[in-house]
Amino acid sequence: MMQVLQQIGHGDARTALALIEAPVPIAAPGEIVVRMEVAAIHQSDVLNLADEKRTPHHTLPRIGGTEGVGRVHAVGDGVITFTVGQRVFPPKYSGLFRTYVPCVAANCYAAPDDCDAEALSIVQTMGLTAYLLLEDYVKLPPGAWIIHDAANSSIGRIIIGLARHRGLRTVNVVRRAGFDNELKALGADVVVVDTDGADEFAARVKQATGNADIAIGLDMIGGAVAGRLAHCLADQGTLVLYGGSGPDAAQVAFTDLARRNLTVTGMGMSRAFNRRSANEKAHVMATLGELAASGIMKTNIAARYRLSDYAAAFAHAGQPNAQRNGKVIFRF
């Protein structure tokens, strides 16, 4: 038998979730069964409990879980790509809050063996997002500058590490002072505190970068800060919105957008990833796995919980990012 964390209602995790026992699944043809090592609790998992629109009653009971990593426990007929014991990334959103998960083998990716599973716990979301942001929009040769906001967020930090690894230089925009040393230790080149005046802000960025041409801006927040990033871009630059974490629409001035020929686009991670062939996807995932295993892409873990401690785990994961400082994960 195995443990399964089921969502049976909405609201407080103590009542909305229930831990049940179920038989270990058997690998059907073309499938593998993955024994989970870690599964991250993402914001979407937290919202799925809170918001009935996301998880209507007729979809319950359901098993949550956005991403994680595990090892192959059983291999179904016809699967030749994976062997028992091998570490894999199971598909996203495949009900990962359970000890054993049956997965279509073709949708799984090999994961590196030579690291702790925790290091791989957010590769498929934040790692992949950061990777695609730096790959898919502007050709960035070594030495090129990028500017991004929410630089102190989990994804912001991953972007810093990836950019440094690629030989890129980063302007890191943060809300308040005090992150210089921390972000520079991760590989940040310049840390700038956001200010209201776009001109003043751009002047400070120019000074800090020695008037560098910045071809791409990555905005996680929206609102006026997105416009300030745009204001810092060189002519013909691209602003990629990728988070929309703030309530406000990105505000981009005509004098930047039209006069300076900027492009504003939004990244959809799945869409960007699915533009790639199966081989390319496997290559991307292998690259990300290596970066995570080698510590270039660092994951901040706020706390680890056992599946049976789900109430405490969800309470922790529901705290604001600043308080939590990292990802809450289940360790199986």
Partner: protein, 332 residues
Amino acid sequence: MRALQHIAFGNPAEAVRLVTLPDPTPKPNEVVIRMEAAAVHLADIKKFMGEPGFRNVTFPNTPGYEGIGRITAVGSDVHGFKVGDRVFPWWGASTFAELVCTSAEKVMPAPEGDAVQLSLMLVNGMTSVVLLEDYVPLKPGDWVLQNGANSSCGRYAIVLAKEKGVKTCNIVRRPELIAELTALGADAVVLDSENADELAARVSAATDNAEIKLGLDLVAGPATGRIAHCLANGGTVVNYGFISGKPSEIHFNELFWKDIKLVGMSTSRGLAKRSMDELRNIYAKLAGMIATGEMRAAIAGTYTLDQYADAFRHALRTGAERDGKVILLPNG
């Protein structure tokens, strides 16, 4: 001769003065043009006021991007023009003056017909051409969505699109414009709504659920996001003005869900992309369509040079307060 001079940044009534200057004598390669009509653009006013992005001027200067007039003097090396010929001076010839002295090289012959209507061909006509040609490939039967549809560019776009067999869905804020734009050739005219879902429903109903890939945004502010909200997957919003006075506002969700791109348009880039021969051909065609009345802008009012303060005040008004373009008649 009398001419306007921009002498400082400030309120248009004080930033500009009327001066008397010696009548120009053409150099060997120049012609002198006695101006019949010259269009006042919002960009003129923004320049007078020294708004951000419009401060690249030297004082004193005679403003005026465009207009139409007749040649009164011809330099010794000029061939192809004679005194009495009706012509368009090229962009930025300082047309807010009784006489314009300019290199004959780019001067273009003008047809007979309404001088007032012809006086705004150069800027707005090219803007509409570039909007329809340079961003999304359009084939007969395709739809284009635009706000600010009653503007000169908007009206031109309606006629130019129709000529290509492309249909226009036009967003207006005043119901009385529906009949007017329909008469001009608009395929659909819908009333704007602050609510993006409501607007999208109106657009869908008016276009028989057409998949619209190109949206033209003259208004900016939240209107940018509303245009995006009405477009099909993979659509492009081209912003080319900000008559709301606000930056373009677009939320991550609009861009992300439907893979929408927001780009800014500038007519000068459209000019730079085209050879002088291509431009002359485009302008010859535009001039012909305006001369026959096929292409027709709304005219808010005409003013003589000494009424410049009233003219510029009028140009600053919006909506029903200024139905169309303000035109100067430099020679009364």
